[in-house]
Protein backbone atom coordinates (compact mmCIF):
# COMPACT_ATOMS: atom_id res chain seq x y z
CA UNK A 1 0.00 0.00 0.00
CA UNK A 2 1.49 3.32 -0.99
CA UNK A 3 0.35 6.87 -0.60
CA UNK A 4 1.82 9.86 -2.30
CA UNK A 5 1.15 13.49 -2.62
CA UNK A 6 2.42 16.21 -4.89
CA UNK A 7 2.81 19.90 -4.28
CA UNK A 8 3.48 22.52 -6.90
CA UNK A 9 5.39 25.48 -5.47
CA UNK A 10 5.18 28.86 -7.21
CA UNK A 11 5.90 32.47 -6.34
CA UNK A 12 8.41 31.93 -3.54
CA UNK A 13 11.42 34.15 -2.82
CA UNK A 14 13.49 31.39 -1.27
CA UNK A 15 14.95 28.66 -3.46
CA UNK A 16 12.32 26.00 -3.21
CA UNK A 17 11.63 22.97 -5.29
CA UNK A 18 9.67 23.31 -8.50
CA UNK A 19 7.73 20.32 -7.37
CA UNK A 20 7.86 17.71 -4.64
CA UNK A 21 6.47 14.21 -4.49
CA UNK A 22 6.27 12.07 -1.38
CA UNK A 23 5.53 8.37 -1.06
CA UNK A 24 5.24 6.16 1.97
CA UNK A 25 5.60 2.40 1.64
CA UNK A 26 5.81 -0.55 3.98
CA UNK A 27 9.39 -1.69 4.48
CA UNK A 28 9.08 -4.98 2.62
CA UNK A 29 10.65 -6.18 -0.61
CA UNK A 30 7.25 -5.78 -2.29
CA UNK A 31 7.61 -2.03 -1.81
CA UNK A 32 10.21 -1.93 -4.59
CA UNK A 33 7.43 -2.30 -7.16
CA UNK A 34 5.72 0.76 -5.69
CA UNK A 35 9.01 2.69 -5.65
CA UNK A 36 9.46 2.08 -9.38
CA UNK A 37 5.89 3.22 -10.08
CA UNK A 38 6.52 6.29 -7.97
CA UNK A 39 9.69 7.10 -9.92
CA UNK A 40 7.83 6.69 -13.20
CA UNK A 41 5.23 9.20 -12.00
CA UNK A 42 7.97 11.56 -10.88
CA UNK A 43 9.61 11.57 -14.31
CA UNK A 44 6.24 12.23 -15.95
CA UNK A 45 5.70 15.19 -13.60
CA UNK A 46 9.26 16.29 -14.28
CA UNK A 47 8.75 16.35 -18.04
CA UNK A 48 5.56 18.34 -17.61
CA UNK A 49 7.19 21.00 -15.45
CA UNK A 50 10.82 21.26 -16.47
CA UNK A 51 11.68 22.78 -19.81
CA UNK A 52 14.89 20.83 -20.26
CA UNK A 53 14.49 17.25 -19.15
CA UNK A 54 17.76 15.35 -18.76
CA UNK A 55 18.38 12.47 -21.10
CA UNK A 56 17.18 8.96 -20.50
CA UNK A 57 20.51 7.67 -19.19
CA UNK A 58 20.60 10.51 -16.60
CA UNK A 59 17.14 9.53 -15.41
CA UNK A 60 18.09 5.84 -15.34
CA UNK A 61 21.12 6.63 -13.18
CA UNK A 62 19.06 8.57 -10.66
CA UNK A 63 16.28 5.95 -10.57
CA UNK A 64 18.84 3.18 -10.16
CA UNK A 65 20.43 5.00 -7.21
CA UNK A 66 17.04 5.55 -5.55
CA UNK A 67 16.09 1.89 -6.05
CA UNK A 68 19.44 0.73 -4.62
CA UNK A 69 19.06 2.82 -1.48
CA UNK A 70 15.45 1.64 -1.08
CA UNK A 71 16.58 -1.97 -1.37
CA UNK A 72 19.39 -1.33 1.11
CA UNK A 73 16.95 0.11 3.65
CA UNK A 74 14.57 -2.82 3.29
CA UNK A 75 17.30 -5.43 3.38
CA UNK A 76 19.45 -4.05 6.19
CA UNK A 77 17.51 -1.52 8.26
CA UNK A 78 14.37 -3.67 8.18
CA UNK A 79 15.99 -7.10 7.76
CA UNK A 80 14.07 -7.99 4.59
CA UNK A 81 10.80 -6.87 6.10
CA UNK A 82 11.06 -8.77 9.37
CA UNK A 83 11.41 -5.46 11.22
CA UNK A 84 8.09 -3.75 10.62
CA UNK A 85 7.95 -0.13 9.62
CA UNK A 86 7.51 2.26 6.78
CA UNK A 87 9.89 4.07 4.47
CA UNK A 88 9.09 7.53 3.23
CA UNK A 89 10.61 8.76 0.00
CA UNK A 90 10.56 12.44 -0.84
CA UNK A 91 11.56 13.51 -4.36
CA UNK A 92 12.25 17.16 -5.13
CA UNK A 93 12.84 18.82 -8.46
CA UNK A 94 14.90 22.02 -8.42
CA UNK A 95 15.95 24.09 -11.42
CA UNK A 96 19.48 22.67 -11.24
CA UNK A 97 19.10 19.27 -9.59
CA UNK A 98 16.93 16.45 -8.34
CA UNK A 99 16.98 15.28 -4.75
CA UNK A 100 15.69 12.16 -3.04
CA UNK A 101 15.29 11.83 0.71
CA UNK A 102 14.49 8.60 2.52
CA UNK A 103 13.38 8.43 6.14
CA UNK A 104 12.80 5.22 8.08
CA UNK A 105 12.96 4.03 11.68
CA UNK A 106 14.82 0.77 11.13
CA UNK A 107 18.23 -0.31 12.38
CA UNK A 108 21.06 2.21 11.91
CA UNK A 109 23.39 1.94 8.95
CA UNK A 110 26.82 1.02 10.26
CA UNK A 111 28.89 0.22 7.19
CA UNK A 112 31.73 2.73 6.80
CA UNK A 113 31.94 4.66 3.52
CA UNK A 114 35.32 3.10 2.70
CA UNK A 115 33.61 -0.23 2.17
CA UNK A 116 31.85 1.23 -0.83
CA UNK A 117 34.96 0.55 -2.85
CA UNK A 118 35.66 -3.12 -3.30
CA UNK A 119 37.44 -3.25 -6.62
CA UNK A 120 40.66 -5.17 -6.68
CA UNK A 121 43.94 -3.32 -6.41
CA UNK A 122 44.33 -3.44 -10.18
CA UNK A 123 40.99 -1.67 -10.60
CA UNK A 124 39.18 -4.67 -12.04
CA UNK A 125 35.82 -5.56 -10.51
CA UNK A 126 35.53 -8.42 -8.06
CA UNK A 127 32.95 -11.13 -8.53
CA UNK A 128 31.33 -10.85 -5.11
CA UNK A 129 27.61 -11.42 -5.34
CA UNK A 130 26.70 -8.81 -2.74
CA UNK A 131 27.78 -5.49 -1.29
CA UNK A 132 27.50 -3.36 -4.43
CA UNK A 133 24.24 -1.52 -3.78
CA UNK A 134 25.52 1.67 -2.19
CA UNK A 135 28.54 1.75 -4.47
CA UNK A 136 26.19 1.73 -7.44
CA UNK A 137 24.10 4.48 -5.86
CA UNK A 138 27.20 6.55 -5.11
CA UNK A 139 28.46 6.23 -8.64
CA UNK A 140 25.10 7.20 -10.12
CA UNK A 141 24.55 10.50 -8.27
CA UNK A 142 26.67 13.50 -7.26
CA UNK A 143 26.08 13.22 -3.53
CA UNK A 144 24.81 10.50 -1.23
CA UNK A 145 24.60 11.23 2.46
CA UNK A 146 23.45 9.21 5.46
CA UNK A 147 22.49 10.50 8.88
CA UNK A 148 21.14 8.73 11.93
CA UNK A 149 18.96 11.42 13.47
CA UNK A 150 18.73 11.81 17.25
CA UNK A 151 15.10 10.65 17.22
CA UNK A 152 16.17 7.27 15.93
CA UNK A 153 15.46 7.71 12.25
CA UNK A 154 17.68 6.90 9.30
CA UNK A 155 17.89 9.69 6.78
CA UNK A 156 19.37 9.21 3.34
CA UNK A 157 19.80 12.03 0.88
CA UNK A 158 20.75 11.71 -2.79
CA UNK A 159 21.46 14.65 -5.07
CA UNK A 160 22.05 14.61 -8.79
CA UNK A 161 22.89 17.84 -10.59
CA UNK A 162 21.76 18.38 -14.14
CA UNK A 163 25.35 19.19 -15.13
CA UNK A 164 26.49 16.06 -13.33
CA UNK A 165 30.16 15.74 -12.51
CA UNK A 166 32.29 14.43 -9.70
CA UNK A 167 31.48 11.85 -7.05
CA UNK A 168 31.22 12.43 -3.34
CA UNK A 169 30.08 10.41 -0.40
CA UNK A 170 29.36 11.86 2.98
CA UNK A 171 28.16 9.80 5.92
CA UNK A 172 28.17 10.13 9.67
CA UNK A 173 26.78 8.36 12.71
CA UNK A 174 25.04 9.96 15.68
Amino acid sequence: MMMWKMRLVVGSRRPRPITELTAQVRATAGALFAIHSFLDDFWKTFQALHSQAPDTIWQIEFSTAVAEVAANIIRHAHKDGTIAGTVSLHLCLYPDRVEARFVDRGLPFTEPPESLSRDKDDGSPGLEEGGRGLRVASAAVDLIRYRRAPGGTNQWELIKQFDSSGLKFSGHSP
Binding site: R75, P125, E128, E129, R132, G133, V136
Partner: protein, 97 residues
Protein backbone atom coordinates in the same frame (compact mmCIF):
# COMPACT_ATOMS: atom_id res chain seq x y z
CA UNK B 1 17.59 -18.46 -20.58
CA UNK B 2 15.07 -15.64 -20.91
CA UNK B 3 14.08 -14.10 -17.59
CA UNK B 4 11.17 -11.66 -17.60
CA UNK B 5 10.51 -8.64 -15.41
CA UNK B 6 12.72 -6.77 -12.98
CA UNK B 7 15.77 -8.61 -11.72
CA UNK B 8 16.07 -7.21 -8.21
CA UNK B 9 15.93 -8.03 -4.53
CA UNK B 10 12.59 -9.77 -5.08
CA UNK B 11 13.60 -12.08 -7.90
CA UNK B 12 17.39 -12.41 -7.61
CA UNK B 13 17.45 -15.59 -5.53
CA UNK B 14 15.11 -17.41 -7.93
CA UNK B 15 17.16 -16.38 -10.96
CA UNK B 16 20.39 -17.46 -9.31
CA UNK B 17 18.82 -20.79 -8.39
CA UNK B 18 17.70 -21.36 -11.99
CA UNK B 19 21.16 -20.54 -13.29
CA UNK B 20 22.96 -22.81 -10.85
CA UNK B 21 20.42 -25.58 -11.48
CA UNK B 22 21.05 -25.27 -15.21
CA UNK B 23 24.79 -25.61 -14.64
CA UNK B 24 24.25 -28.59 -12.33
CA UNK B 25 22.21 -30.23 -15.11
CA UNK B 26 25.18 -29.91 -17.45
CA UNK B 27 24.32 -26.66 -19.24
CA UNK B 28 27.64 -25.00 -18.60
CA UNK B 29 27.46 -22.52 -21.48
CA UNK B 30 24.61 -20.16 -20.82
CA UNK B 31 23.37 -17.12 -22.69
CA UNK B 32 21.12 -14.92 -20.59
CA UNK B 33 18.78 -13.07 -22.95
CA UNK B 34 17.89 -9.87 -21.09
CA UNK B 35 15.48 -8.40 -23.62
CA UNK B 36 12.56 -8.87 -21.23
CA UNK B 37 14.35 -7.40 -18.20
CA UNK B 38 13.73 -3.65 -17.88
CA UNK B 39 15.62 -3.20 -14.62
CA UNK B 40 18.51 -4.90 -12.81
CA UNK B 41 19.75 -3.84 -9.39
CA UNK B 42 22.86 -4.92 -7.50
CA UNK B 43 21.04 -7.98 -6.15
CA UNK B 44 20.18 -8.97 -9.69
CA UNK B 45 23.78 -8.46 -10.76
CA UNK B 46 24.77 -10.67 -7.84
CA UNK B 47 22.49 -13.42 -9.15
CA UNK B 48 24.04 -13.19 -12.61
CA UNK B 49 27.53 -13.29 -11.10
CA UNK B 50 26.52 -16.36 -9.10
CA UNK B 51 25.53 -18.05 -12.35
CA UNK B 52 28.72 -16.86 -14.04
CA UNK B 53 30.91 -18.32 -11.30
CA UNK B 54 29.01 -21.62 -11.30
CA UNK B 55 29.35 -21.89 -15.08
CA UNK B 56 33.06 -21.08 -15.06
CA UNK B 57 33.68 -23.50 -12.20
CA UNK B 58 32.13 -26.19 -14.37
CA UNK B 59 34.39 -25.28 -17.29
CA UNK B 60 31.83 -23.19 -19.15
CA UNK B 61 30.79 -19.56 -19.22
CA UNK B 62 27.80 -17.23 -18.97
CA UNK B 63 27.16 -14.43 -21.42
CA UNK B 64 24.49 -11.76 -21.51
CA UNK B 65 22.64 -10.57 -24.58
CA UNK B 66 20.25 -7.73 -25.45
CA UNK B 67 20.52 -5.79 -22.19
CA UNK B 68 18.24 -2.77 -21.78
CA UNK B 69 19.78 0.68 -21.32
CA UNK B 70 19.40 0.41 -17.54
CA UNK B 71 21.27 -2.90 -17.50
CA UNK B 72 24.10 -1.31 -19.49
CA UNK B 73 24.20 1.55 -16.99
CA UNK B 74 24.55 -0.71 -13.97
CA UNK B 75 27.18 -2.81 -15.76
CA UNK B 76 29.20 0.35 -16.35
CA UNK B 77 28.65 1.74 -12.85
CA UNK B 78 29.99 -1.48 -11.35
CA UNK B 79 32.68 -1.96 -14.03
CA UNK B 80 31.21 -5.42 -14.50
CA UNK B 81 31.02 -4.80 -18.23
CA UNK B 82 34.69 -5.86 -18.12
CA UNK B 83 33.73 -9.38 -17.08
CA UNK B 84 30.23 -9.54 -18.55
CA UNK B 85 30.48 -8.08 -22.02
CA UNK B 86 26.98 -7.29 -23.28
CA UNK B 87 26.17 -8.80 -26.68
CA UNK B 88 23.72 -7.14 -29.06
CA UNK B 89 21.92 -10.38 -29.83
CA UNK B 90 21.80 -13.99 -28.76
CA UNK B 91 23.47 -15.26 -31.94
CA UNK B 92 26.49 -13.01 -31.30
CA UNK B 93 26.67 -14.25 -27.73
CA UNK B 94 26.70 -17.85 -28.95
CA UNK B 95 29.59 -17.09 -31.29
CA UNK B 96 32.64 -19.28 -30.80
CA UNK B 97 30.82 -21.93 -28.75
Amino acid sequence: MRPRGRLDLLSASEVKQRLTDAVAEGHTRIVLDLEGVPFIDSSGMGAILGGLKAARLAGGDLRIARPADQAKVILELTSLDRVLRPYDDVEDALGGW
